[in-house]
Amino acid sequence: MRWATKLRLRLRSLLQGDRVEAELDEELRFHLDRLTEEHVAAGLAPADARRAALREMGGLDQRKEECRDARGLALVDELRQDVRYALRGLRKSPGFTTVAILSLALGVGANTTIFTFVNAVLLRPLPYPGSDRLVILRERPPGAEGTVSVHPLNFLEWRARARSFEALALVQTPPLNVTGANGAEQIARVQTTAELFRVFGVGPARGRVFTPEEAQPGNHDVVILGHGFWQRWFGGDPAVVGRRLAVPEGSLTIIGVAPPGLRIGLMEADAYTPLPIDPAKPDSIGSRSFQCYGRLKPRVSVDAARAEMAVVASALARQYPMDEGYGVFVSGLHEYLVREGRPALRLLMAVVATVLVIACVNVAGLLMARGIRRRGELAVRASLGASRGRLVRQLIIESLVLSSLGGAAGLVLAYGGMLALVTLTAGALTVGSIEPIRLESTCLVFTLLVSTMTAVVFGLLPAWQASRVEPQMALRERTRGGTADRRQHRMRSVLVVTEVAMAVVLLVGAGLLLRTFSRLVRVDLGFQQAGTITMGLFLGRRPPEARVALVDQILERVEAVPGVKAASTIQFLPLSGMSCGTGFWLEGQARGDASHALPTECSLVSRGYFAAMDVPILEGRPFDGRDRMGGPRVVIVNRSFARRYFPGGRVLGRRIIVVWSDEARAEIVGVVGDVRHNGLTSEPVPTVFLLHAQTPGYITTLVVRTAGDASAQAAAVRRAIHDVDPSQAVSAAKTMEQYVGDLLVRPRMYAALVAFFAVFAVILAAIGIYGLIAYVVTQRTHEIGIRLALGASRGDVFRAAFGPGARLTFLGLVLGIGAAWGLRGLVSTFLFGVTPGDPVSYVVAAAVFAVVAIAVAAIPAHRASRVEPTAALRYE
């Protein structure tokens, strides 16, 4: 009660300063008036009486100041005294203080880091107005998992029929070749219907957006520049609207500039051009290869839209054969974009939460040990008249000081951790809103709450216990272990076992992820990544013969560059995330429609591709100069293809018809090794290689094998290309090693983070074990002295001190291994090449922990065995 009153008064002086001030004024004025009255009664004239009274009071303002001081000082004084006392107490036990602050800092820092990160990636909405109404629509094919891109006909139907959406936009992202003073370049382009900017709820930074007419067929040579590209290419020219953007085919009129930070899905486009759809012939621009974004009407939920689209889909399925069995997938855009990162971030959150629990358990154990040590002190002070409230307040202040220091250190750690994490995850995250990461106020509050709660709760434990013990008892028990001691000792043992078990779980997880990573690094991709450089070539609107000739000339020039060993092209590079599925018929097989063809992946390459990528030729020959456009059609298949479709039989010389290649009959002239085209963990799939020189494509990627450092050759290769055609655009060069590196970013991140936190956890648990045993040894110095004096050997003493630590560690290990086994399902999705029950990881984790635990338990045990009996017996 008294506390509550005091607190209220203090808060009042602090928060309601104005009112307190007014009352003070009134109170003193009252006094002044009474004094004046007294003087008047004594016979002075009113004015003189007033002056006399003021003089007597020595000035109102000075009096007020004194009262303010009295109010403030009472508060500040006691607080300062308590804080000073707490700091002195903490300084007196530097070991305890350091370890406690470090534990709190680690736990809090790790959590703030990951919390901020998760907040930025999973929780922070997309940076557009009403972004919760942004959705993505895709098609759901029959009889298959997942979703596919949208057909333009369906887009038109959806737009005409669905009532849930304020706007729908169809988007495709073919690159755009531009030419400028600094040469030609291939830039990222979004081709879109007019509604795109309405869908994203943004207007142009300059100029205008597309009109509906510009989304109709016709020659609309207009472009909206991406904000970044406007800065880079036009130096942010404020008068850029109306200027022209040069492209190989002529030029486009710049009608506007997109706002900064606009990302269509994940893509930050350099340019936006209209996507004209002919309502009479919508598939003239392509089939299921478009992205569809929508904005829901206000108060329409995603579920409602999904329900409506299900109805629309079934109507379309009845109307169009191509939609038979197809459904519509509708998802909030943000949710869709973060879907891949979500499980990993959840795992990380679980890991850091565990670290936090371990840190708290550690601090709890430390505070309890300290509490026992101080019980005597508390008892003395209680018997000298300190009220329980006073003791509690001091313990709270001490805990607050401790947790503030820990929290502050944690924030510093979190800041560093954030920077490290941003570096570590660059490229590993799907959502772009990651760059402006900063510690947010929510995180700050979270941090301080966690650190403070822990410290206060466990800091008060000794006070609570002290209050249940009579001072005399406590004084008597001060030096030797009493019942309360034993109870506390048991509790601390439980805490240590918990810490150990959790640390072991993290160690096992880290082991599994590290082994996964080492498997991934050593995975055989089927080609040699070292020394290979790649760059994209968009061949543009040339006739087929010109596209063949251009690639031939470029390859000749590039091969002539010194240091280049081989050069070729492929439509979609392995590991680039792109592939092209198609089907084929065996010669002699009845040719039905495309849906009856045998499935195969298809790659469009130039001669020399297998040499450039160092893919082994298993049978037959590679493509060479003989294979020309007019000549006999040839294809090469990979080993999976040969095994699956010609098991045990002859492959070379067989003829097949590939759906994709204008369906001409082609002879298989070679079999090559398998490549993990779709990623490090992807299984090779049957693939047929077609020749660019016979079926030229538009999009292609140059692959150059060099002697030595590949990236050093990039400029020379680019010059060689421009020697052939100065207007030919080339995308930025990337080495195959970079592609592989990109794929390793995520597994590396998981493994590194979990290993990092596991090491934290082990350190914390080790501190816990050490602290417990060291404490017991200190408590029993006297007893040890007696034992030694009575003839116990130093080995006996060592064993007696070491034994309990070993037992607790063993118990924790067993529990931890069991828990890890029980939780193994949680990590299974992140593993490759190891099973979640991988015995090596478990054994190594247990062994590592056992070694650490034995080492830290041995230190105090050894110290115990070195005790001098005479000194120990003198010890209180």
């Binding site: 009153t5 005091k6 109170e27 006094h31 009474r34 109010r71 008249g385």
Partner: protein
């Protein structure tokens, strides 16, 4: 373990507590009362009275309430709290011990 206070300050606290133990009083009345009861020996200056009152209020020993004064003006009346009553007891006991001790020394030394 309260902090050391100088004698005058501590004594003033005791006087204030004792005076308002009888009935709620405002600052002016407290000063007058001390003066009258001490036969004009103790004159409490405003410079010490009001800071002391505010400090005691912050300590939770007295609490204040605004009420009409005898000449019908608003004045701030101070009352003892329960804690204040306890404090008064212990302070009185302490004062009596101290006074007795001092007078012993003064007489016998």
């Amino acid at each position: 373990m309260s902090k050391p206070t100088d004698l005058v300050q501590g004594t003033l606290d005791l006087l204030i507590l004792r005076v308002i133990a009888l009935e709620p009083m405002h600052g002016w009345a407290i000063a007058q009362r001390i003066r009258h009861v001490s036969n004009d020996e103790l004159r409490v200056g405003q410079g010490s009275l009001y800071p002391a009152l505010h400090k005691l209020e912050q300590q939770g020993w007295i609490e204040a309430e605004w009420a009409a004064s005898e000449n019908n003006r608003r004045a701030k009346y101070y009352t003892l709290t329960r804690a204040g009553r306890k404090a008064l007891e212990s302070e009185t006991a302490q004062w009596e011990r101290l006074a007795a001790a001092i007078s012993l020394v003064v007489r016998r030394a």
